[in-house]
Point group: D2
Chain length 440, copies 4
Amino acid sequence: MEDINLHFTGDFHAITAANNLLAAMIDNHLQQGNALSIDARRVTWRRCLDVNDRSLRAVITGLGGPTEGVPRESGFDITPASEIMAVLCLAEDLPDLTARLGRIVVGYTRANDPIRASDLKTQGALTALLKDALNPNLVQTLEGGPALVHGGPFGNIAHGTNSIRATRLALKLGGYALVETGFGTDLGFEKFCDIVARQTGLIPDAAVVIASARALKLHGGAHKKELATEDVDAVRAGMPNLLRHVDNVRLFGLPALVAINIFPTDTEAELAAIEDGLARVGVAAARSDIHIHARGGEGGRRMAAALVDLLGREGAEFRPLYPDDLPLRRKIETVATRVYRAAGVDFVGTAPRDLERYERLGYGALPVCVAKTQYSFSDDPAKLNAPDGFRLSVRSVRLSAGAGFVVALTGDIMTMPGLGKVPAAERIGVGPDGRIIGLD
Amino acid sequence: MEDINLHFTGDFHAITAANNLLAAMIDNHLQQGNALSIDARRVTWRRCLDVNDRSLRAVITGLGGPTEGVPRESGFDITPASEIMAVLCLAEDLPDLTARLGRIVVGYTRANDPIRASDLKTQGALTALLKDALNPNLVQTLEGGPALVHGGPFGNIAHGTNSIRATRLALKLGGYALVETGFGTDLGFEKFCDIVARQTGLIPDAAVVIASARALKLHGGAHKKELATEDVDAVRAGMPNLLRHVDNVRLFGLPALVAINIFPTDTEAELAAIEDGLARVGVAAARSDIHIHARGGEGGRRMAAALVDLLGREGAEFRPLYPDDLPLRRKIETVATRVYRAAGVDFVGTAPRDLERYERLGYGALPVCVAKTQYSFSDDPAKLNAPDGFRLSVRSVRLSAGAGFVVALTGDIMTMPGLGKVPAAERIGVGPDGRIIGLD
Amino acid sequence: MEDINLHFTGDFHAITAANNLLAAMIDNHLQQGNALSIDARRVTWRRCLDVNDRSLRAVITGLGGPTEGVPRESGFDITPASEIMAVLCLAEDLPDLTARLGRIVVGYTRANDPIRASDLKTQGALTALLKDALNPNLVQTLEGGPALVHGGPFGNIAHGTNSIRATRLALKLGGYALVETGFGTDLGFEKFCDIVARQTGLIPDAAVVIASARALKLHGGAHKKELATEDVDAVRAGMPNLLRHVDNVRLFGLPALVAINIFPTDTEAELAAIEDGLARVGVAAARSDIHIHARGGEGGRRMAAALVDLLGREGAEFRPLYPDDLPLRRKIETVATRVYRAAGVDFVGTAPRDLERYERLGYGALPVCVAKTQYSFSDDPAKLNAPDGFRLSVRSVRLSAGAGFVVALTGDIMTMPGLGKVPAAERIGVGPDGRIIGLD
Amino acid sequence: MEDINLHFTGDFHAITAANNLLAAMIDNHLQQGNALSIDARRVTWRRCLDVNDRSLRAVITGLGGPTEGVPRESGFDITPASEIMAVLCLAEDLPDLTARLGRIVVGYTRANDPIRASDLKTQGALTALLKDALNPNLVQTLEGGPALVHGGPFGNIAHGTNSIRATRLALKLGGYALVETGFGTDLGFEKFCDIVARQTGLIPDAAVVIASARALKLHGGAHKKELATEDVDAVRAGMPNLLRHVDNVRLFGLPALVAINIFPTDTEAELAAIEDGLARVGVAAARSDIHIHARGGEGGRRMAAALVDLLGREGAEFRPLYPDDLPLRRKIETVATRVYRAAGVDFVGTAPRDLERYERLGYGALPVCVAKTQYSFSDDPAKLNAPDGFRLSVRSVRLSAGAGFVVALTGDIMTMPGLGKVPAAERIGVGPDGRIIGLD
């Protein structure tokens, strides 16, 4: 696990390095006479680090006098939220990578004209830093099964899908390619459909919704600490959450299979309640026993068979949620009302100005990537199950011109997480055998 | 070249990650109630990035209100200047690495008591991040010769020597181990003798001083742009610089060999002038033709033979420059007056307070690591050749308790470089064949 | 004019000095060990200066290391927005002044307990600085008529009424006391009724609404540059604005007189249109010709007579808009919907948290003081005339515990103005006769 | 006392207002397009407040985004350290005031060309704010004696002399004019001679050095808490301090009278020891009993008579210490070595660059104003009595082009003081009779 989670093949490090080289090039340009007339206060490019460090969310750089750069307010995101991560995951090949990197908008002049990475002649050096990271990584499961692990744009704060190069490779190598799209149908799935499929033509044939009795109990009102106790009523009470995810899949014209992940504490009555609830509305389902019971691939046979069966039975009529030419504001409202079931969207803070600017600069045809908590369909982590009637609050919108979308930040979602009261790092160490301990 | 200079095996990335995890743990501790009563203004641990970014030299972090950390002034160093880099290069094995990481002093309480990484329970997680980076990297030359490339603490701003694990490995695998100690005898060499040898018992038998006609012409007064023109007088005028390096080697009780690196533009008269000047004072010398003429290993035979010969002829009586129990201030003065030939040292800025604190806290027995320009024996890059009579200015002293030395910052030396007027990155790219171009 | 507008009797300077002494006491407490455990990030007290200086709106103070204070984010307001200004204007006498100053909440501990000026033992020194400023200033008109000019809390960003000591003095010295309450009935008038009258028992008998043909034309759609041209239609189109002000007066149970300020460019048709529009709905009106035509007191006779007549005819049944025990949020909504005619209020940014905190700390019974643009009934300066259906946006709420109200900041209203493209200061100077020029 | 020490006639407030209007004009210029190409990092004009507030020494202003100014590092001084204070005290009349205000250098362009207040068209508005403050203030002693109290540039951080307009007025109104020059002969006196006399032609005829047994005991080694105990030996041991002041007076060609201020705890033996020590080297002396014994004017008769006598006996041959055309660096060295008796001067930090810049810009002919502790002849407050052999450390030099001198900041001298552990403000209040208490 740690081989994947720590440094792995260095892709995240390469992305971090490229992200921060671009930042250094911007600040150096300001320092060296600022031939492009960049307004230091309108630089939008942020630095990144792959660490949970809330103290870097808002910083001032360039302090110390005329030889030490130009003072300006900025901040750091976590690496998965870097536009470079999204660019890497959406690039078809090296030339496309270079072109996308060059299109990145890093800030604006005083007259509000955009400045691109290509204006700073940086796209080549960024490509050089990323050229190996662009290649997918092949790993194997404990049973020796192949898996491609490549790219990590979190589904809550980014577009939530692995690299399209990995997906294309998987499609070439196997009969079926399964793509994990981070978090629920409101996040990774919607983004796969509206961003990835739209940009690349990689049209999905079906979607598997992962469910568990534990999660449904939580959505059904059970306390977080009592999820190991049988509570069939809570399972039933939580079913609207699952059904809404299924509805969301169908909203995009795709057949849905619910994979019920089995946990040791689940009871047969609970699992039956899920199956019963799904059957009543005609939703295909299959139990899956891959992970927790350590049955591995064998535990996934039923689910795989059900999926193959579904693909044979139901054809897809994939359609993205909105057309390209819908204004950005309306795109966000469409995702919010149709996928999240919000009553409406409040554009606060800089969001109205941001959207107006992107439309004016010709970026109105881009799809939107909503950064939203994964704990709720709404932007309030406390609103569980299947809330509606709420209003989604968009406080700012960032342009990812290289990745090819705009990012709407909702609620209190942060693009740089913080550590907790007792960080996991306090428990981690290296044992006498040289193996990492504490990564439970 | 780029495989070594860009990401290589990820050691620098691992060091960067560890350095910045420690920073995040400190700021998180401040945020989560500050049980250790750390004074945010007395946090000395800095973040790092492996990029030339002057705008990160002085920053304010933790802005944005009570949920976003504690505001404080800080800064970033380049990764080679991180204490983690020095710790990695000086650690004997994993337990020693963990122990050293735990000893790192990251700041002080309001009562000026030191706070260590171990107080934050971070040494284990840091070790986990570094456990693979601790292993030396074996690469091969174009001719297939083996070389260990491991660790990169620059000799001007850090202690300038590769990892001792690499050196110990080399000593086991071969008859002779050559260690490159960054820059001149005033920097990497002095630090190898006074820090590395002192800490590890790795006592050198001889030192090779690399010289070139071009460098001597520069020290002898020739203009930087005319180094390709024959100028025997300038070579002769620059000889005091070379002879001082030889003297410095002898100061530590070691025999010295001067390797004269041959460049295509050198003339026989110039090379003869060097040899003549050395012979006159009985210094061993040999021409070396490895790099520029692409003669490779063959071009180094003479130098190697001369070195073996020297080792057979002259025994070493190695002695470090100063005893452990000399006060820190006197150690700095000793290096300055005996190795750099300064008339004296001015301790300005926070340096007097820093030194007083380290002595008081019991760190007075540590050796000193002077951060100084590599362009001059003095702290003024413009003072070429063999200056004396100057005063060395120490403006602050940092404690590297994990690495086991204190770092004295002199002159205008920066632990975070800046990019130039036209950064090399502007020329770099990836060619149609997927190879990096512009890294000339 | 400049004797009143520049330093006058130094009241503003005294308020500035008191405001900033309190700030210095807070920061000194943080520096000297922080016995009260104030959370530097939760200090709410801001410094002030009586200058338009946008660069002081958001600052970081306390930089430079452990001896130079504690770094924190803060800002400056213009002096009329200082709570000290409000306190001075609402204080009955020296003991009340001291008590109010002591009650000022300057920030919070990490546990969110309030810290008051009295916790810092500062109320005495503040009183000493303000003791002369507490006394009203008597000036005379060009004709020798007496006027009390005392206190200047702007009606847009503060409570908009001169000191109650001046009003009480006027009531003792004359038959009638006229109080200027800054800007329209939505600002100074509402605040006089809901804050000043509520706190002091100074109940008004009637209200004079000042109108002009020029203003009505602007609200009626005429261009700012064409107000000197006759446009009876625009006057009529702007009448809803004036009538709403009259309605607002009646909302508080007071009789209203409209004083029509005559400008040289007004035409008889325009003035008649105003009178006609008012007469149609039974509103008393009188032309006033005091200022522009330089007729002075004589020009005000008609208006004065009309007011005396009105007072004889219509009795007041004064009632504030809301009861003390209405929650703060509801008070703001009441002002917004009933006085401004908003459709509702959006509490964004820190406003919800702010209000929750004040309720929890027992300040829920205070009246509210809405900081809002004077250019519109709404919080959008561009919405002229008599808009409705809009939503008021409250982005933060400040507690003025010493003054005895909370301040709701709406829209883009700033408590520190900025200078314009060509500041008036560029034209100001002192002529050869020692008189100030350029203050047109 | 408080009438003079608190707001008095508002002169300090007017200076504060003018100082900060100039700052607002600079930042507004940066905001409004920066037609003058000012480098925000090279703005040298600081804001000021008349309060001890260390947290304002180093601040960052202009934060919050493109509409809120340009972020830059700056700071506040205490009002007496403002150049406006010095300008007011040195201005002959309104036109001279305006001219001086216009000459103030507020910063530099990126090309290091100076920007003046006149470039911002601000000198007129500043004059308007200062026109009344320019007039001297006449107060009376408890006995009804007249005194002019006008201007307050502290002698340690500024030039230490009241306004020349007050001095000229005194010379017209009386037979003798006594000018208090702040602190010792090393501060106010030297500055009067080298700055004020040089600029204005107001040449002194003699100097009165104020001495006391208490001060001499402190300089002679007695503990601060035992100054009330007779200690004739300590008095004698402290005499070198007094004699050096007398020497300094003579250095400028002036006759000196020592006025011995009598305190209740002084003993006759102590006073005699002083007189004896002075008589031995032929220095005129007289006891003075004005203040502490409350004998008032009567107590000063002897001193006055002695002064008149001295003036009749000894003629002055006034000469400033250095010629105008001595380089700035040499001027500082001359004051340091001849008046302070330093062994030499170290120019550290930005001082060498500062001086080089001022010479280059044509300000080399200005006199120097050294900011130095008043507790010692040296820049170290702990070095009492008559130290020599020390080195003076100059860490930065500020240009006061409007006042007409450069200010050299030495040692740890601060132009913004801080409050103490228990600020006097905690004891201050207003009594029931409306009188201020706690101002002991």
